[in-house]
């Protein structure tokens, strides 16, 4: 062994502090160097109880399974049946979460719309308004009404298929949006009525209402505005979810979207992402409890988001009581986020140098906030955005959504269900105490649900 290797090897025998591990040392040094909190993209990175901690009890002697190939399993999903004259009808219970033009390039928004339309699901706008590209490419488009009201336009309200009033986001409950100057291009600035290049901090509260009683009137305004045709969603970041969902029902929502702490963002303070909000698993159970408590299950639909990645995740979410899921980060990864290469006219080109220039590497990248996305997804840079070809992106995303749906129906059939919405909590058990307590399902092999009376 040479001297350097010996020295490195010796480090392995030294004791690292638990409280002051390398991550913490790095955090303190960065704080000392910059005097500003860290801002980054994506969701919580810490280890949290999640859907992987649950497993299904497939059919056996006591339940009757359905044949995978021959017997149909319905996936149709209807959202907004409470008050809206024109509820949203989707072919699958997997929707695309709200992500802004500004955070994402116009090419990406187009790819999302194309893929969603092909598989029969909805896409959602974000902070910064609706682009013609996404309206054109999306068969079903949910239009967000956010605290900032950037680009909020009554014509787009009329053009939308549903309206989503955003109270908060899982990555930052209690915080407003953020888009750093390098992404505030001329077009983005124009849509948001801001000077180009400013570090844009959006409001964390709506400008024209303050509490659930006010929100009820605001929702009524949106209904009056659209002659009671369009479903109104209310989206909350997961915190006091039981009460928040009850209040959202009271305010007159048709659909409630609950976004857990694993939910992603394009730019938020790290201290928010990792330290505010509760895991999706816990939030989902609280939301379902609230709806059941009010006898509103099935009358007000529930969409869960925040770390829904796979078909099994979707199936577990539905079994726990969600009517649909919304996916953001998974969708981006399907498009090529955190990949080694990007496709260009059928060729794979290496993005490694561009990751290195940002001080990161594929698999670890959360640099959406920089606008320098090495694979051209979270960028407004005219050259970088070409790295995502809408047709190719749409194809990958369509494949991803189809895979999820196939996995979902396979699991549902194995549990003996002809309809994915028939999956139920009784089909699930938990592998850990934490997930059993949060999800409210028994620890596998027992009838024990920690915390239940």
């Amino acid at each position: 062994m040479d001297a350097k290797t010996t020295q490195q090897a010796r480090h392995l025998t030294l004791e690292e502090s638990y409280g002051y591990d390398r991550k913490t040392l790095d955090y303190i040094r960065k704080a000392a160097a910059h005097g500003l909190y860290e801002i980054r993209g994506m969701g919580a990175k810490r280890k949290l109880p999640n859907f992987d901690d649950l497993v299904f009890l497939g059919a056996s002697m006591s339940r009757y399974a359905l044949e995978g190939y021959r017997e149909k399993c319905a996936t149709k999903t209807v959202l907004g049946t409470r008050f809206a004259k024109k509820p949203i009808e989707l072919d699958i219970p997997i929707t695309i979460a709200g992500m802004s033009f500004g955070a994402l390039s116009a090419n990406v928004k187009e790819a999302l719309g194309r893929a969603a339309s092909e598989v029969g699901t909805s896409t959602t706008t974000g902070d910064g308004g609706m682009t013609p590209e996404e309206r054109q490419s999306s068969k079903t488009l949910v239009y967000q009404c956010l605290p900032s009201r950037y680009g909020f336009n009554p014509d787009d309200v009329r053009r939308a298929d549903a309206i989503e009033v955003v109270i908060g986001q899982g990555a930052k409950p209690g915080g407003g949006g953020m888009l750093l100057g390098q992404k505030v291009s001329q077009r983005v600035a124009g849509m948001r009525t801001l000077p180009a290049g400013v570090d844009q901090r959006s409001a964390c509260r709506h400008p024209d209402w303050t509490g659930p009683d006010d929100l009820a009137i605001k929702i009524q305004e949106l209904r009056e505005m659209t002659d009671w045709e369009k479903p109104i969603y209310v989206k909350v970041g997961a915190t006091r979810t039981f009460n928040d969902v009850k209040l959202a029902v009271h305010s007159g929502a048709d659909v409630i979207v609950v976004d857990g702490m694993q939910g992603g963002t394009a730019a938020t303070q790290t201290c928010f992402i990792e330290h505010i909000g509760i895991p999706t698993l816990a939030a989902l159970r609280q939301a379902v409890d609230a709806l059941e408590d009010l006898d509103m299950k099935g009358k007000v639909q529930l969409i869960i988001s925040g770390g829904v990645r796979s078909g099994p995740d979707v199936a577990k979410a539905l079994a726990m009581g969600a009517d649909a899921v919304a996916i953001g980060q998974g969708v981006m990864i399907a498009l090529g986020c955190n990949g080694d290469t990007y496709g260009q006219k059928g060729k794979h080109l290496s993005a490694l140098d561009d990751y290195a220039a940002l001080g990161t590497a594929p698999g670890f990248c959360h640099h959406c906030h920089t606008g320098q996305c090495p694979v051209g997804i979270t960028t407004q840079d005219e050259i970088l955005e070409q790295r995502l070809e809408p047709a190719v992106g749409a194809k990958h995303l369509k494949n991803y959504l189809k895979t999820l749906n196939m996995e979902l129906t396979t699991i549902a059939r194995a549990c003996g269900k002809q309809n994915v919405h028939h999956l139920e909590k009784e089909d699930l058990v938990a592998l850990t105490l934490e997930s059993a307590a949060m999800a409210g399902v028994p620890l596998a092999g027992t009838s024990w649900i920690p915390g239940s009376r």
Binding site: L36, P207, K218, E221, M225
Partner: protein, 229 residues
């Protein structure tokens, strides 16, 4: 001009709004009178034609909200969010307005003859607001574009985190918000003020106003700004 009357003691607000969205857009400019509003919410929201709506009495929340090309006159006072997110046209409150008047208005003109409550012109995005009386605290918070004329006084934290909107105040300003500062009136300001005051029907001397605009010091992250962010 044709004049149609809706009596909200007899008719639902939804029927009025539906008429305004579906029928009014097919007809040439005409007038709709709304009797007995009795503080009803969401009167004449989402107008999309040059119809004139006259409300005889007090309106609740969001009167004339999201207006495009319409004219809404409220012969009484208005609740929270009057003329919110207006795109064009005119909303005129003859009485007083509550909180968040003209919030996030992208265009058009909001005239309030009396006083306005808290957060008047919050998140303003290009609309014009003329207030005959005074405005409450946090008015023009994060206002991005547009103009606001306050003939009376302004409360605390006027123009906090202001972007490119311009504010004119005739009376006293209790305090300015972060990044807002008083600037000298220019010829352009005098022209703007003369025009806005005239449109709103006030004849104050434009030179008697103070101008408030952004220092633009919070446009980029700055480690020394501390809690200002």
């Amino acid at each position: 001009m044709e004049n149609l009357t809706f009596d909200l003691a007899q008719t639902r607000v939804s029927d009025l709004n539906r008429y305004l969205h579906v029928e009014a857009v097919k007809k040439p400019a005409h007038k709709v009178t709304v009797k007995n509003p009795d503080g009803a919410h969401n009167i004449a929201v989402g107008l999309d034609s040059p119809v004139e709506v006259e409300v005889i009495g007090h309106a609740g929340y969001y009167a004339g909200g999201m207006n495009k090309t319409g004219k809404v006159i409220i012969k009484g006072s208005a609740g929270t969010g009057v003329g919110e997110n207006m795109m064009s046209g005119v909303v005129h409150v003859r009485g007083f307005a509550s909180n968040g008047a003209g919030a996030s208005a992208h265009g058009g003109l909001l005239i309030i003859d009396g006083d306005a409550g808290l957060r008047c012109g919050i998140s303003l995005k290009g609309g014009d607001i003329v207030v005959g009386g005074s405005v409450g605290s946090f008015s023009a918070f994060m206002a991005q574009a547009g103009r606001m004329v306050i003939c009376g006084d302004a409360g605390d934290a006027l123009g906090d985190s202001l972007y490119e909107a311009i504010l004119y105040v005739r009376g006293d300003i209790k305090s300015l918000g972060a990044d807002a500062q008083i600037q000298p009136l220019t010829e352009t300001d005098i022209t703007s003020l003369t025009d806005l005051l005239q449109q709103a029907g006030f004849n104050h001397d434009p030179k008697s106003f103070k101008k408030v605009a952004s220092r633009r010091e919070l446009y980029h992250w700055n480690a020394d700004a501390n809690q200002e962010y």
